[in-house]
Assembly symmetry: D2
Amino acid sequence: MQDLLNEIAEAMAAETERGKVADYIPELAHVDPKQFAISLATVKGERYSAGCATTPFSIQSISKVFTLTIALGKMGDALWSNVGREPSGDPFNSIVQLEHEGGKPRNPFINAGAIAVVDAIMMGHEPKETLAELLSFVRYIADDESICFDHVVAASEMAHRDRNASLAHFMKAFGRLRHDVDKILGTYFHQCAIAMSCEQLAHAGLFLASDGVNQPSNIRVVSPQRARRINSLMMMCGHYDASGEFAFRVGLPGKSGVGGGILAIAPGQGSIAVWSPGLDDYGNSLLGTKALEMFVQRTGWSVFGH
Amino acid sequence: MQDLLNEIAEAMAAETERGKVADYIPELAHVDPKQFAISLATVKGERYSAGCATTPFSIQSISKVFTLTIALGKMGDALWSNVGREPSGDPFNSIVQLEHEGGKPRNPFINAGAIAVVDAIMMGHEPKETLAELLSFVRYIADDESICFDHVVAASEMAHRDRNASLAHFMKAFGRLRHDVDKILGTYFHQCAIAMSCEQLAHAGLFLASDGVNQPSNIRVVSPQRARRINSLMMMCGHYDASGEFAFRVGLPGKSGVGGGILAIAPGQGSIAVWSPGLDDYGNSLLGTKALEMFVQRTGWSVFGH
Amino acid sequence: MQDLLNEIAEAMAAETERGKVADYIPELAHVDPKQFAISLATVKGERYSAGCATTPFSIQSISKVFTLTIALGKMGDALWSNVGREPSGDPFNSIVQLEHEGGKPRNPFINAGAIAVVDAIMMGHEPKETLAELLSFVRYIADDESICFDHVVAASEMAHRDRNASLAHFMKAFGRLRHDVDKILGTYFHQCAIAMSCEQLAHAGLFLASDGVNQPSNIRVVSPQRARRINSLMMMCGHYDASGEFAFRVGLPGKSGVGGGILAIAPGQGSIAVWSPGLDDYGNSLLGTKALEMFVQRTGWSVFGH
Amino acid sequence: MQDLLNEIAEAMAAETERGKVADYIPELAHVDPKQFAISLATVKGERYSAGCATTPFSIQSISKVFTLTIALGKMGDALWSNVGREPSGDPFNSIVQLEHEGGKPRNPFINAGAIAVVDAIMMGHEPKETLAELLSFVRYIADDESICFDHVVAASEMAHRDRNASLAHFMKAFGRLRHDVDKILGTYFHQCAIAMSCEQLAHAGLFLASDGVNQPSNIRVVSPQRARRINSLMMMCGHYDASGEFAFRVGLPGKSGVGGGILAIAPGQGSIAVWSPGLDDYGNSLLGTKALEMFVQRTGWSVFGH
C-alpha cells in the first residue's frame, strides 16, 4: 500500500495541468500550487502517507462533515426540517434554489445548508463556545490536540462574506435561522478555516469507514446507521455540482474543500485524505480527484464494484 | 434469505398506506395497488422470491438502465457529449434545466436524457429495428425469451406524449437529436412499455452486481469499470428528485419506474427487484422503497457500511 | 412631414452598423440588409412614405397584433384565461416561464402566447379556414386585396419548427391547447409569413391610433377601450425582452417582427411602419428602432410627453 | 373635475372588498383600511381632491421615482451600467433574476434596483447627508416644508430587513454596490418611510406630467426627455409583477407603494395621487387602482387613446 501511495504521489508530481488555486481571498490565493499529499488510515489501524502529508491546509468545506456529525448528535432527524438531503443541481452558492423552495437549502453541504447546520448547533450559545465545541470534537476524532483555526483565513472570509451573507439573510427572512446572521457567519468561517494535514484528516474521517467507531481507540462516535447516512450525503452532495462526476470517476463518498483537500471514505476499508491546492472548474481539487481515481482503480475499493 | 423475503412480503401486505398508482394513462391507472413482489438474484447463482414475483408489470423507467448499457456499448464515452451525468435537482420531466444548459439533459435517467439515449442508439435505423435489438438484449440478460413489449401501454403513452414531445423538440432545436421526433418517441415509449416480472428483472440486473458478468452464464456483458459507472449513475440519478432520499434510506444504486418497480444493485452480492404499484409524491414506489430499506437493514448490504 | 421621413430615410441610408439579418431560415437570411422603408398613415387620412415602402417583407410577429384583435373579437376577455398580459422578462421563445406558471404564457406576443391565440381562434376549424379569415381581415384593414401569405417562408418555418413545437406540446400537456399541434403550428407559421409593405402595414394599424376606427373608411374595427388595451399590450410586451428599452427610447406602443419590421402606434396621431432587415441582439430591427426614435424626437408624439 | 373626484371617492367608500393591508411590519399593519383619498394637480395649476387627501401615509416604493430622478441628475446615463430598465417578470423581491444576470437588477423600481439607486446617490456620503438631500428635493417639488420621514416605520423596516439585506449583499458580492450594506439599507428604508398626503404627492409628481417643469413655480426639474423616460419606466415597471395589468386597465405611467398609495402621470394633463391601504395579491392598492381606472375612463386621459 505504501508503494501505491508513493506511486500516486510521483504521478501527481509529474502532472503539468494542476488547476487554479482559489483566489477569492488572498490567504488561499498565495498557497503554493505544487504541493500534493495523500494519507490513508485503515480500519485495521494502519497508516500510510506520501507527499507533504503533515503540512496543514485550510480544510474549508470538508469541515461540513464534522459539523453535520455534531448537529445530528444534538438534534437527530429534527435537523432535516430546515435542511434537505438532495443534490442541488446548482453551484455551491446558488440562491435560486432557496427562492424556489421557501428558503430551505437542498442539503447540508452547499453553503446555505452548512450555514443552517451551524445555526442549528449554536443553540443560543456564543460563537466562541460553539467553536470550542467543534474544535474539541475534531481534535478528539483526529486524536491530535494541535489542530487549530487559522484566524487570518477566517477574518479574510468574513471580510468577503457578501455572497454567504446574502444566503444567510435570505434563509433568515424565511424563518430558517434563529441566531444573528453575523454571529452565524463568524462561526461558519472559523469552522471552514480549520487547518489540518492529510494525516490528521484521514484519521478524523476514519469513524465513517468503520461503522461509526473511531480507530484505533475503538470508541463509538456515531451509530452504524448514522455513519452510513453521512456517507450517503457525501456521495450525493459532497462535490457540489460535480458530485455525479466524482461518483462516476472515483466511486467513493467524498467531501471536497476549496482549499484543495478531499476526504474520501471507503466503507469497511479506510479513510483517505488528499490535498492539492489547484481546483477544477467546479471548485474541486484537480489532482486530488485524479489521485483518488488512481487509488480506487488500483485498490478496487469503489463502492460500486471491484 | 428466503425467510427474510417472506417476512418483508408479509410486512408489506400489512401496510395500509400504499401510495397512489400512476394515473396519467389508463393502462397504469387500472393496476391493482395491493400487489407486491420481491426477487433476489445473487452473484453465486441463488434465486429467492416472495409475493407475486412472476407477474409481469410495466418496467417503465427501469428500462433506461438497459438502453444506457446498449448505448455505452455502441458509442462509449461519446455518449456523454449529448447527455450529462449529474443529478438534476428537478422533477423527471422538467424543461427548465434544458433551457439553461443548451438543451443538454443532465443525466440519462431523466426523461430528456433517456430520449437522447434512444436517439443515440437508433443510428439511422427504424424504430422496429432498434426495438428488436433492445428486446433481444433484455431477453438475453434475463435469460428469458418470453419478455415482450406491452403495445397497449406504448400506444397509450404515445397518445399522451405532449410533455415528452416538448422535451424532444426542445433538444432537437438545439441539435441534440438526429432522428425524427415521433420515431424517437415511439421507440422510447415501447422501451418503457417492456413488461417484466420481478424474477426476470432481478436476473436481468445481475451483471451490474457481478462486475459486468451475467450469472450463472458467466458471460461478460460489460467491463467491470462500465458496471461500476452505471451503478454510480443509478445511485446519483436513479430516483429523480428523490435520489438523495433513496441513497439515505436504502444505500444501494437503484432505478425506479412509474409502474411501481425498482431495480437495486448490491455490488458483489446480488440484484434485487421489487414491485408495488403505489407511488410516493416523487413518483417512486412507496412500498418498494420500504421493502428495500428493510432488506438492506437486515442484510447489511448498503454500499455505505454495514 | 414628408421632409422628415425623407430626412430619416437618408440618415438611415448613411448608417454603417445595420445589425444582423435573421438567419434561422434561409428565406429570411437572403434578404438584402441595405433596405429601409418608413410609412406614416395619420388619423386625418394623410399618407407619407420614404424608402422602399411598397416592397413587401415578412411581417412575422407583427401579425400577432392582428390575430390578437381577431381573438378578442371572437372571445372577448375569455381569451385571458389561457394567456396572460404581463411582460415576460425572458426571451421570446423561453420555456422556463411556462413551466413555472402551469403552461400559461405570459402574454399574447411571446411565441407561446401567440400560439395559444392561434389555437383560440381556430375554434375547431381547419388551418385553411382560419387562415382565410385572417387574410381577409388583414386585407380589409389595409384596404388592399393583394396581400398574401409567403408560402415558401411558411414551409421553411414549419421545417424548422422544433422550438415552437416544444412550446406548443408543453402547453398542450397542461391542457392549454385544444387543436392538433401541427395544425396550430401550420396556421401560426402562415400567419407569421404574411408579406406586407410598410405602406400596407401603416394603413392596417391605423385603427389602433384612431380609437378603433379604420381610416379613411371610418368603419369601426374595435371599441375604443379595446384599441387602448391592444396598444397597452404592444407597449408592455411588443419587443420581447427589450420592451422596456423601446418604451424608454421611442415611447410608443409597438410590435416588432424578426423580418425587420416594426409597427408603432401614436394614439390620436397615426400609425407608423418601418422596415430594415438587420436586427439587434434582442431580435428587433436595429435601424427601424433608430428611425422611430428620430421620428418621435422630431414629432413629439411620445405618449410619455412632448 | 371636482365632481368626478367626489363621485370616485363615494364609489370607493361603497366598496366592500378593500384588499389586505400590508402586515410585514406592525406600523403598516395598523393603518385603518377604510381610508381613501385622491388628488389631482393639473399642468394648468388647478388642484382637486376628495377623501382624506391631507392625511399623510407611508409612500414606500413611490419614493423610488424621486430617488431615480435625483440619481439621473447626478449621474445621467452612467446609472444604467448597474441597473437595467426592463420589466422583471418576477415579484418585487425576487433574487433569482439577480443570480441569472450577474447581480444587475432589472430596473430601478424592484427592490434590488432601488437599493442600487440609493447606493448610486450616496457618493461616499453618510446616510444622514443623503437623506437630507432627498428630503430637501421632495419638499421642493411638493412645495411643502412639512414633509418628513416616519422614523418609527424606518426603524421597523430595518429590524425586518433580511430579505432586502440578502438582495444587497448579493449585489455587493458582484461588485454592484460601493457602500456599506447597512448604511445603504438604513438610507433606503428612510426613503421608503417618507410620509406624504395625496395632495403633497400629486404636487410632487406634477413635473413628470409637465415635460419636466414644476408647476405653478414654472421651474425646470428635469429635461423633457428625462421626464418622458422616467414616465416610461413607471409604465413598464411601476407595479412590479402587475405592471402589464395596470397598463391594461389604467393606461397611465404609475408607481405604487405597499403603503397603499399610487402616483399616476397623465402627460400634458396632470399628476394624480390615490391612496387606499388595502392591497391586491401583487401588493398594489386595490381601490387605488380601481379609482384610477374609473378616473381614466371618465377623463379619457389614457396614453393609449381616448
